[in-house]
């Protein structure tokens, strides 16, 4: 039911862990639902310089977390926060319909981390 790309990211997830002294932290999901995601980012010149994730969840949850870190790294914040669930799913060659919520979680996780950075650094969007 999973694409080879999903399985590849599940087998070898990119950017697992937490960045040191993160500029922004996004935590989404909850253990009752079986999914919990924590995204930490380092921001420099309004770009995502570094990003790491920690995820408790199914194969799709881990693969989407891994994928969003790849999609976001090096991107300007304004671009990164526009990454949609469909972008993540497409990059993984699709997700089973009942697993689409995992890509929602990943996209939300990144947006939360960016929001956290902005509120901490006082660079709220105008």
């Amino acid at each position: 039911m999973y694409s080879e790309k999903v399985m590849e990211h599940f087998r070898n997830p990119r950017n697992v862990g937490e960045v040191e002294n993160p500029d922004g932290v996004g935590e989404v999901g909850n253990p009752t639902c079986g999914d919990l995601m924590r995204i930490t980012i380092k921001v420099k010149d309004d770009k995502i310089e570094d990003i790491k994730f920690k995820t408790l969840g199914c194969g799709a949850a881990i693969a989407t977390s891994s994928m969003i870190t790849e999609l976001a790294i090096g991107k300007p914040l304004a671009e990164a926060e526009k990454i949609s669930r469909q972008d993540i799913a497409d990059s993984l060659d699709g997700l089973p319909p009942q697993k689409m919520h995992c890509s929602v979680l990943a996209a939300d996780g990144l947006r939360e981390a960016i929001k956290d950075y902005r509120s901490k650094s006082g660079t709220e969007e105008k």
Binding site: V16, L56, C58, G59
Partner: protein, 394 residues
Amino acid sequence: MEEKFIYLDYAATTPMRPEVVEVMTPYFTKEFGNPSSLYTLGRNARGAIEDARDRVAAFIGADSREIVFTSGGTEADNFAIKGVAYANEKKGKHIIATPIEHHAVLEPCHFLNKRGFELTYLPVDEHGIVDPADVEKAITDTTVLVSVMHANNEVGTIEPLEEISKVTRAKGVYLHTDAVQTFGHIPVNVNDLGVDLLSVSAHKLYGPKGVGVLYIRRGTRMVSFMQGGSQENNRRAGTHNVAGIVGFAKAVEIAEREMAAEATRLAELRDHLIRGIFEKIPNSRLNGHPSKRLPNNVSMCLVGAEGEAILLSLDMEGISASSGSACTSGTLDPSHVLLAMGIPAEIAHSSLRLTLGKETTKEDIDYVLDILPPTIERLRAMSPLDASWGKSKC
């Protein structure tokens, strides 16, 4: 190096034994007759079906006339529940079931519930066991059927049917059991168990898929499940699955011969695996009853890792496992069985089921015990909860 393949999902399905394939083969080609035809070819097929019926009946202490062949366990469950409910509407429209039944029982119960039947779920304890006293309490003047599975497919717990049937008999209520996980694996005798209806599937005991049996005790008021020809004494219309039925009987014959020794062998491997997981993986818990359990079932919660991620990881190492029951993989909800046993959702999400069988060896179990601990460690290390597990608020 040869690629590892260790199948530990025998509760989902089993490979057919070569002897089973062998006896089935002629019925696809040379002996293709319709068992309802009167000429020799038809009579041969009919004879094979009746021999098969006799064997299945003898195996569970039933009379041959009480055996109805079906398309499998799901049909047998549907037939039992709807068949009794619709035939006894004048007496009452109340049915009772456990919340840990297979979906093949739960869904027909929901179906009836939506159409004016009352449905009561029995409580189960933390091991999934039904208290016969609760059955007595649940029965009312309008109750027509109680359905309690013989053993649970996810956690392996064996229910005290002998005690439960004393209650249903005293109250004059029919008792159905889904024996799909026990038939051919531990002794199943309809008179010892005291059941009126019992569902069985062939592919769980090294027989073919697509064939099963519903045992119906003589005198049980039932409506027929399929309307059409007069097969199975007008109880189940449709041309018989002759090859499947013949293969089923062969699987039963083998089970008769091997079941006792195999149950002992598997129970030892099961306990070795459970002990090994407890020793090597901190924060693991056994689901289901420690001793009143199927000889081949290991069901654990490996707290802090997620079930599907565990089984995908094991598959990468050549191990076929299940997180709960195969029928529900593909849904997001944690197992309804574990939730009914009072296990919190965040723990239930970490369930892993390994079910052993014919080809399972001690070496296989030791391989799993080498692979599983680092797998769980890796997934736990990836989790944002690690040390704070269980303390965080949802």
